[in-house]
């Protein structure tokens, strides 16, 4: 049985700002782009959340909900440095760390012997050290796999710990609302609700075949997760699957032609990001993302190892035709070939 800890810093960017300026501690703050630039909320603190503000919400909307919200531009370099300190503490426990973002990571502590091998004590020690040495709080989840550890870290947030021991897995999962499963968004949740599936116990009443027929490959995963099973290993090296860039426009792009004119600049930025990839990966396809003025969004993807501007335009046409209204955001990306790591090229 494995022992996995999922560590998640509580409202990370906001926590760093509040640490550095205690006056911000009890007032609603949000870190993100300005309204003028049509920025979105990257992180907000708990007082701000009481107004219904959440990350990825347009800043303009956030300010509508909370006019006295303090908006902070944020300082990426500072957050990276804080994250480095936090990860150094994780690394004192184990080298088997899978970073999910700057402030979130899985730790596989199955083979760690300190604290008598108790993952719960290790998680508490991590939380205590981060709080004392870095000055921000971490919520942690302890479970036999990544799926449950991630749910657990969210369970008692903020500054909380939740442990799901192997003997508790079954009862925990049974009552778990399907909405909590990573990958079940509003659409899937709705579809599941239509089938009268609300909890994992409900999921279990469906056969694997039934779920696969309705949800494709994700159906198999739903089936596994409903029994609390998740064999995914903690990967210290994350394989990049795509590279992309996007731009929110200060003024909506009124029509397809206006969108098309923005493509070259986006592709240029994409090329720059692609060139910086380390290790370099082969391109497998291209992606175009369109977000309309009503906030609906769509992505179009096409497999091709050597994309060109014309192909991006074709995908843009398809994407635009799905909304046919002014466009707020455009994105382009490359789908990358998997596992080309250490790939010997042939002579002929």
């Amino acid at each position: 049985m494995r022992k996995i800890i999922h560590c998640d810093c509580d409202c990370f960017y906001a926590a760093v700002e509040m640490r550095d300026n205690p006056a911000l501690r009890d007032i609603p703050i949000a870190i993100g782009g300005s309204v003028e630039q049509r920025g979105v909320v990257a992180t907000c603190n708990y007082p701000a959340r009481e107004f219904g503000i959440h990350s990825a919400m347009p800043m303009a909307q956030a300010l509508k909900r909370c006019p006295h919200l303090t908006v902070i531009r944020g300082e990426m370099a500072k957050y990276k440095e804080v994250a480095r300190q936090v990860f150094a503490i994780y690394r004192d426990v184990t080298e088997l760390i899978e970073p999910l973002s700057l402030d979130e990571a899985f730790l596989d502590v199955s083979e760690v012997t300190v604290h008598h091998g108790s993952a719960t004590l290790m998680a508490e020690a991590i939380r205590e050290r981060v709080s004392r040495e870095v000055g921000i709080t971490v919520s942690a989840g302890v479970a036999p796999n990544k799926f449950l550890a991630k749910i657990a870290s969210d369970w008692n947030k903020p500054d909380g710990l939740c442990v799901i021991t192997p003997d508790k897995v079954d009862s925990f999962v049974q009552q778990l609302p399907v909405k909590k499963i990573h990958g079940v968004g509003p659409r899937t949740a709705e579809k599941l609700a239509g089938l009268d599936i609300h909890t994992c116990a409900d999921l279990r009443t469906r056969t694997l075949t039934d779920l696969v027929e309705r949800f494709g490959r994700f159906g198999r995963r739903l089936h596994e997760l409903s029994w609390g099973r998740d064999e995914r290993p903690v990967k210290t090296h994350r394989e990049r699957k795509s590279v992309s860039t996007e731009q929110t426009y200060a003024q909506d792009l009124p029509n397809l032609d206006a969108c098309r004119q923005e493509l070259p600049a986006l592709i240029e930025d994409l090329e720059r990001r692609y060139a910086r990839l380390d290790p370099p990966l082969a391109v497998r396809g291209l992606i175009v993302k369109v977000k309309f003025s009503d906030f609906t969004q769509t992505t179009v993807e096409h497999a091709d190892p050597a994309p060109n501007l014309a192909q991006f335009e074709t995908l843009l046409n398809i994407g635009w035709s799905r909304g046919e209204r002014p466009v707020r955001l455009l994105g382009v990306g490359y789908r990358l070939a998997e596992n080309t790591q250490e790939h010997q090229l042939p002579l002929f």
């Binding site: 370099p280 080309t340 790591q341 250490e342 790939h343 002579l347 002929f348």
Partner: protein, 367 residues
């Protein structure tokens, strides 16, 4: 058959001939060496049906001419373990081979001479004569790049190409290619290309020395035969089309690096210790007059080496299987090596500075 011979006179041809004999055989007689005695001439033959080697030596005394086949490896092991300068007497008595030397006596089984297969006579269309040292050099400069058990069977061997006044060898396993050419005094009406199987090449090179003495090659459509003074070597040819090597040799490289060969080889060998054991990838970072070599493995261990080089072609990063580079640096004889590159996805050209008789093409890895 009954004859006497000194241990030394027997051992050298026997060792070479036994080298052709495979340990695992489909036909029992293929484990044996054929011994034929005529006049004072003793000839030894070993074969695996693809490659045949005949070695000739001289008996000190012949009591009775004749022939026999005896287990090759056992006979060789016995002769090797006898004291230096021993006199050996070999005789066939009642269907068994009896070896006597001093107070030792060994009785070996035999199989009928008639069962011993004979590779059909080379349908010799052309015969050329080449200095042994030249052929040996051509083989040794390229044989490391031959494929092994590749499904593209025509890669499991070496291309011999004979043009007027030029002999060329080419070997490739699909990831790297080695090619070496030397002038020879031969005129042919049209160029000939033959693919000699891997084993044939390796056995042939063991027969050759660095001398200017000639080896004559008989080129057939299905066989090649080589004569040196005491040996006759025959190999079947691989029937297939060898890749167009001219197309593979890069001509567009504009980034030229010159390094001390031995020093670079050591740098690469050390770095290789921490490369991925399966893929053996190393990263080369070309900078102004410096080459940085880095490797890391799945355990996240890391090696970094720097070596001064002549280079001003602009910064570039490229990955290679370190074994392919080390192989080339091992066979090159010059003090310095020249590496020409174009970009991280195109092949590298390795040769002696300014170009020598050999050139090597290595395809990069994506790391």
């Amino acid at each position: 058959m009954k004859f006497s011979i000194s241990r030394e006179a027997l051992l050298r041809p026997l060792t070479l001939v036994a080298g052709v004999v495979e340990r695992r055989q489909t036909l029992p007689v293929l484990s044996n060496v054929l011994i034929q005695v005529e006049g004072d001439q003793v000839s030894l033959t070993g074969t695996d049906l693809e490659v045949e080697l005949v070695g000739r030596t001289v008996a000190s005394q012949v009591d009775q001419a004749g022939a026999a086949t005896v287990p090759a490896r056992k006979l060789m092991d016995i002769c090797k373990s006898l004291p230096d300068q021993s006199d050996i007497q070999l005789a066939v008595e009642e269907g068994r081979a009896v070896l006597r030397s001093g107070r030792s006596r060994f009785t070996l089984s035999t199989l009928p001479v008639a069962e011993f297969p004979n590779i059909e006579d080379a349908d010799g269309s052309q015969e050329i004569s080449v200095p042994r040292g030249t052929l040996k050099h051509l083989i040794e400069a390229t044989s490391f790049a031959m494929a092994q058990q590749d499904v593209r069977y025509y890669l499991n061997g070496m291309l011999l190409e004979i043009q007027s006044n030029l002999l060329r060898t080419v070997a490739t396993d699909g990831h790297r290619l080695a090619m070496c050419s030397r002038p020879i005094e031969v005129s042919v009406s049209q160029s000939q290309k033959l693919i000699v199987p891997r084993k044939g090449i390796l056995e042939l090179s063991r027969l050759l020395d660095d001398s200017d003495e000639p080896v004559s090659l008989t080129l057939g459509s299905s066989h090649v035969r080589a004569h040196t003074g005491d040996f006759t070597f025959t190999s079947k040819l691989i029937d297939g089309k060898f890749p167009d090597y001219e197309r593979v040799v890069p001509r567009n490289g504009d980034k030229v690096l010159i390094a001390e060969r031995a020093a670079l080889r050591q740098v690469l060998s050390r770095t290789a210790i921490l490369s991925n054991e399966k893929y053996r990838g190393v990263r080369l970072y070309l900078e102004e007059n410096n080459l940085k070599v880095m490797a890391n493995n799945p355990e996240q261990e890391e090696a970094e080496e720097n070596i001064a080089v002549e280079y001003n072609g602009g910064a570039m990063e490229v990955g290679f299987n370190v074994g392919y580079l080390v192989d080339v640096l091992t066979v090159l004889n010059e003090e310095r090596v020249q590496i020409t590159l174009a970009d991280p996805n195109s092949s590298a050209l390795l040769e002696e500075p300014g170009g020598g008789d050999a050139l090597y093409v290595v395809m990069p890895m994506r790391l």
